[in-house]
Amino acid sequence: MQLTSFYFKSNVRRKLIDPLLQRNMKRFGGRFVEARAAVMTEVDNLETIRVAAAAIRDRSLANLDSYLVAFEEQALARGSQVHWAETAQDVNRILIEIAQSNGVKKIVKSKSMVSEESGLNDAVEAVGIQAIETDLGEYILQLAHEPPSHIIAPAIHKSLEEVAALFSENHHTPRQTDIPALCREAREQLRPHFLSAEMGISGGNFLIAETGSVVIVTNEGNGRMVTTLPRIHVTITGIEKVLPTLNDFSTIVRLLTRSATGQSITNYVSMLTGPRQEGDLDGPGQSHIILVDSGRSRLLGTEMQEALRCIRCGACMNHCPVYQNIGGHAYGWVYPGPIGAVLTPSYVGLKNALDLPQASTLCGACQVVCPVKIPLPELMRVLREKSFEQGLRPWHERLFIRLWRGVANRPRLYALMTQVGVRVLSLLGGKKKLLHHLPGLDGWTDGRDMPAPQGKTFRELYRKRRS
């Protein structure tokens, strides 16, 4: 996927004044937030399960190497073929090799965010293979030539009217006016592709080490079609997605679906364990699993490792007041919101996504809802520290911070400077006691007044009162 995180600030500016996006984001508003809150009341020991889920993820990550090897052994024993992709380019290369050596001309895909990392669709199209997204949201975006803006609801930034116009234009059909009709139309368009594609690609929510299974958690049913109808099924997923046992999965899934869409359970939870076995009525002839590193292993053993706990529920972005106002595209890469602000700089390089760790008030709403207790504000702070240490922040910001540190550590100097400062600002504030413009603080005064200080500092007034 085209990386535009470097331009976060100008992306934001455009998104804040995009009336259609703003309307769609408002409409989306708190739907997932409310659904999550409602469904969590079913769980009477939520905090205990969160602690357990975080511990399961930590255990998986602490022994990632051995669980991956165990997974590979089990997957091979069940007849799957396992491929290791160190980089995003490796993902595309491996996939194209599998496709070409099997004469694949058409691929149907269910949702895979990892395949967005490597820009897989463009890569396969460049070698003459058609790739069709079959998740409704992803299908819409493929028609619109846009990247996803949310990890579980990729087209959340689009309105019904926009989708209707897009369908009508691309399918040469009369414009629909309601969602069921649009779904039916998509289904009619996609059905022949499901039946004619030689390869299906899916993501994988989890890999189960003890059984060699890939788990996908979905709602639309396209996942079932993609993974069972074509003669080849390829799973593309990150190496961090491994869980030791099915039992572990049963703990995690209780939180995943509730945190994501506010459902007690999704319509489909599929365990894919190898290709069609003798006597099976359906299933693919070949099962391939591409395990993607692409920056993940670099986080192991560092203070960023907790980010790899992520189970991709999207609750952090749903609850993030920054995401709610700017949408996912502004973040400029595959993963938006707080988890994106942590993962994107980690995967693509801090200097390519400098503003993302700053794109948070550290309000903590994300951390409170994260089902695996990722300390997202803390991780953003770690990245801010790296930016500061590596001199990647603007010089005036670094200077200001160092100056303030120096002044605040010298009480007499602090007292003198603040006394003078507040007098000047108080005078400038005039009768209305408001500052409309402050040089160097345009970031504030462009959109807000600065209420002027009272005029004397507390310490001055207190000293006078005591004497």
Partner: protein, 245 residues
């Protein structure tokens, strides 16, 4: 009970009357309050901007200024959160210092939390004419569980009527240096907060952190509203006859 009042730099510079309100509330509740003269800032602006050294320098200063008190109280959830939740992790290699900071952190409280949880204040002799809507500032709420304390105390203020806004726990967009670095998002978030607050038609928007209040008031005034009051909870609790010093 000897209480050290940590005024916080923002209150010291921008709104000394909040500091005096806190002082009055603590004294009325029977505390012996001392304001250590060398105190400045908790170090949060630098710490959250990625300069850990700011945190360390100010944590040492805080320790020197406040270690001798039974309790430390600050009229701010975010400064208290900095002390309570982050000072302890700043010196991983110095267990003695870390231990001293942890001990001090446990005695450090946000003002309303202190009044309710430690002092168990049940009666305030104060008066406020009007309706209030309360904004829950993030650090106080999520780092310190400050939620019922200010409401409980405002319930004791004669005349004050609380009208909850939609989403009182939604961040106002201040976020310290965020409000300048990403001012456009901060402004939009302040806008949303103002809308929710104004929809209650309350006479005053009240909160426990001056940073948030400046952000909200700044946006309100820019939008042309110069009647809705924006007040710190200490000002409401201490009552109107409060001296301006």
């Amino acid at each position: 009970m000897r209480v050290g009042l940590f005024v916080t730099c923002l209150v010291d510079m921008m709104r000394p009357r909040i500091g005096f309100a806190a002082l009055k509330l603590l004294e009325n509740a029977g505390c012996e309050v001392v304001v250590p003269p060398n105190q400045t800032c908790c170090g949060q602006p630098g710490f959250n901007s990625g300069d850990r050294e700011s945190g360390r320098v100010m944590a040492r200063r805080f320790l020197a200024d406040f270690e001798s008190f039974d309790y430390v109280v600050a009229p701010s959830g975010s400064c208290t959160g900095m002390i309570r939740c982050h000072y302890g992790e700043l010196f991983p290699d110095d267990t003695v210092l870390q231990h001293r900071l942890d001990a001090l952190s446990q005695r450090t409280f946000e003002l309303t939390d202190f009044l309710v949880t430690v002092l168990k204040v049940e009666r305030l002799d104060s008066f406020f004419q009007g309706t209030i809507t309360y904004h829950d500032s993030c650090s106080g709420l999520r780092e310190l569980n400050v939620k019922h304390q200010p409401r409980q105390l405002m319930g004791q203020v004669v005349g004050a009527q609380l009208r909850e806004m939609n989403k009182p726990e939604l961040c106002c967009g201040f976020g310290g240096t965020f409000s300048i670095k990403l001012g456009e998002i901060a402004t939009r978030m302040a806008d949303n907060k103002c809308q929710d607050a104004l929809a209650t038609k309350a006479d005053a928007i009240v909160g426990g952190d001056l940073g948030c209040l400046l952000n909200i008031e700044g946006r309100l005034r820019r939008l042309g509203d110069d009647t809705t009051q924006v007040l710190h909870v200490a000002e409401v609790l201490a009552g109107p006859e409060l001296g301006q010093g």
